[in-house]
């Protein structure tokens, strides 16, 4: 077992919080490592097909929420929630292959980047149209309730999504029907070039919760513990049959909208300010201060992580492209 995995598997000794913190660290740092590799290396080497949207600085959100879920809870990750896939067992190699349009990606080359899902893992693939996932997640929640499970649907989206009619329709429907739907907004303060004050005239996305008659809370999206606790409250609420719950995670997009966007429209001071609040650095400081991890374990962890990612990239690069003869397959259910 590598140290990277070992950091998660400290069952005894340091206690539950230490254990949780190590799992946070593993997934947050793996997400960052994978995305850095994609954005800062493979994309620049022209090895990536199509667009690249990463979530540097937002890793606490999918990880904090994801670790509050059961495997049977159905997730709708946005394009900035890579860790959700990692937590459900999608390996970095499949993610690299997905980004390279190879057969080994989750969609086998049919779609790219974060447009991927797997019903066996209870992950629904988004479409590009921002916000379209919200009513669909409401429908998944309806089905979970209908079938008598106590599972929840969890829908992730950005601040921009909250301007779409679909967002409002989906939440209102779920609220009226009291569906087990957890809504997680990453308010990273920009939607492409659009700053939050041009996106909405109210101060917070969470201010909209009361308008639909659902609870909503604001949380520091760069504090993984805070996100995790909010997610636990939200999930408990939804599981108890009390209806949807909205969490607004305040965070910041530390990159351009996509790898080709230099983000000249973002004041430089904002990047500097939010760099100080980096969620991984904050987590590590807390772990070291609390003695939940030893400094030498941290560097060994990162060494292991890099090796894991190197091997995954190598695998993906060796992975073939799909066979063009399959182009027409699977528009409909294959005839037996």
């Amino acid at each position: 077992m590598s140290v990277a995995q070992a950091v998660m598997n400290v069952a005894e000794g340091p206690g539950e919080e230490a254990h949780l913190s190590r799992r946070f660290l593993y997934y947050m740092s793996l997400m960052r490592e994978v995305e850095d590799r994609i954005e800062r290396k493979l994309y620049r080497q022209s090895k990536i097909v199509g667009g690249v949207y990463v979530a540097r600085g937002q890793e606490a959100i999918p990880v904090g929420v994801g670790l509050a879920l059961e495997p049977e809870d159905v997730v709708f990750p946005s394009h900035r929630d890579l860790a959700i896939y990692l937590m459900r067992g999608v390996g970095p190699r499949q993610i690299f292959a997905q980004y390279m349009g190879r057969i080994g990606g989750l969609t086998g080359g049919r779609d790219g980047n974060m447009h991927m899902g797997d019903l066996k893992l209870n992950i629904v693939a988004i479409i590009s149209a921002i916000g379209a996932c919200v009513p669909v997640a409401a429908g998944a929640a309806l089905a979970l309730k209908y079938k008598g499970t106590n599972n929840v649907a969890v829908c992730f989206f950005g601040d921009g999504a909250t301007s779409r009619g679909d967002w409002h329709e989906g939440i209102n429907l779920a609220a009226v029907q009291k569906l087990p739907l957890v809504l997680v907004c990453n308010n990273n303060q920009y939607a492409y070039s659009t700053p939050i004050e041009k996106q909405m005239a109210c101060a917070n996305v969470a201010d909209r919760g009361p308008a639909y008659g659902i609870p909503a809370e604001i949380v520091d999206g760069n504090d993984v513990f805070a996100v995790h606790e909010a997610a636990q409250r939200a999930v408990a609420h939804a599981r108890d049959g009390l209806g949807p719950y909205l969490i607004e995670c305040k965070t910041f997009r530390m990159t351009g909208h996509s790898a080709h966007d230099p983000a000249d429209y973002v004041p430089k001071e904002l990047f500097a300010e939010w760099e100080q609040k980096d969620p991984i650095r904050r987590l590590l400081e807390r772990m070291l201060d609390s003695g939940w991890i030893a400094p030498e374990d941290v560097s060994r962890h990162y060494d292991d992580l890099r090796k894991e990612v190197d091997a995954a990239v190598e695998w993906a690069e060796a992975c073939p492209y799909p066979d063009p003869a399959t182009l027409l397959d699977n528009v409909y259910e294959p005839r037996s």
Binding site: G50, G101, G109, G112, A129, G165, Y192, S193, K198
Partner: protein, 322 residues
Amino acid sequence: MATYLEAIREGIGEEMERDPGVFLIGEDIAVYGGAFKITAGMLDRFGERRVVDTPLCESGIVGAAIGAALMGLRPVAEMQFMDFISCGFDQVVNFAAKCRYRWNAPVPMVIRGPSGGGTHGGPFHSQNPEAWFFHTPGLKVVAPATPYDAKGLIKSSIRDNDPVLFFEHKALYRRVKEDLPAGDYTVPIGKAKVVREGKDLSVITYGSGVHMALEAAEALDREGVSMEIVDLRTLLPLDEDTVLASVRKTSRVILLHEDTLTGGIGGELAARIAEKAFEFLDAPVVRIAAPDTPVPFSPVLEEAFLPNARKVLEKARWLCAY
């Protein structure tokens, strides 16, 4: 020399100079200048009142454009990708398209944006959604292939008193260039153009298809076969006369588009040719289009999906040998 992209920008700028009621509305178009930079510099030139950055809301954008048009302004709304027009579908096909017929209210607006594949954009950034609107009476649908036509047609679209959907092919934005005449000119909506005279067969096409056909025509020339190419330029209303004249002249016809086959523009053209030029045909009408699948992401699949000059050439040879 102006690229296709610059030509559109010039055309919009000239119309804004000419008519103070023309304004731009869309996502990321002002400060950022648009995802493809069509509206770069417009904010500095015309100010915030006339270059409006909106929240992320296509139905809102289209609806607001309709409302402003009903009040006598001439909005030019951008879809960041034409794929996302589906998010404003009801506003386009029911509100905008039916005002004049129902209560004689003109809706002089343009919805424009990038469409088309070839950039590995995947299923949601590569579509050619023109046929959805081709089937909607009350709309006009324009799809230029060259910088000259793009500029002349965007200007005509802005001056038009009916709602116009203006499909720009994103793979042409920076790829095609030409010298444009100085000063004001327009290209009429509803007029196709014979872009290459020929006598052995006709290719009727638009947008990216024009460039595929031109490439195939060069190769055919070397084989002693002369291909005529008709660029529709406007899909709705359709310039049937130019299409039928070409068919009557060459008696062999290929209908070519990048959009998927079933329910595409080619089907309607085939029907009109069958109805009105049947006795002039020496061979079956041939369609070349993308197959009936979503636009795949992986380059090898996308290559297999998209029509191209080679596919046109092969069909043309087959047709001439028929």
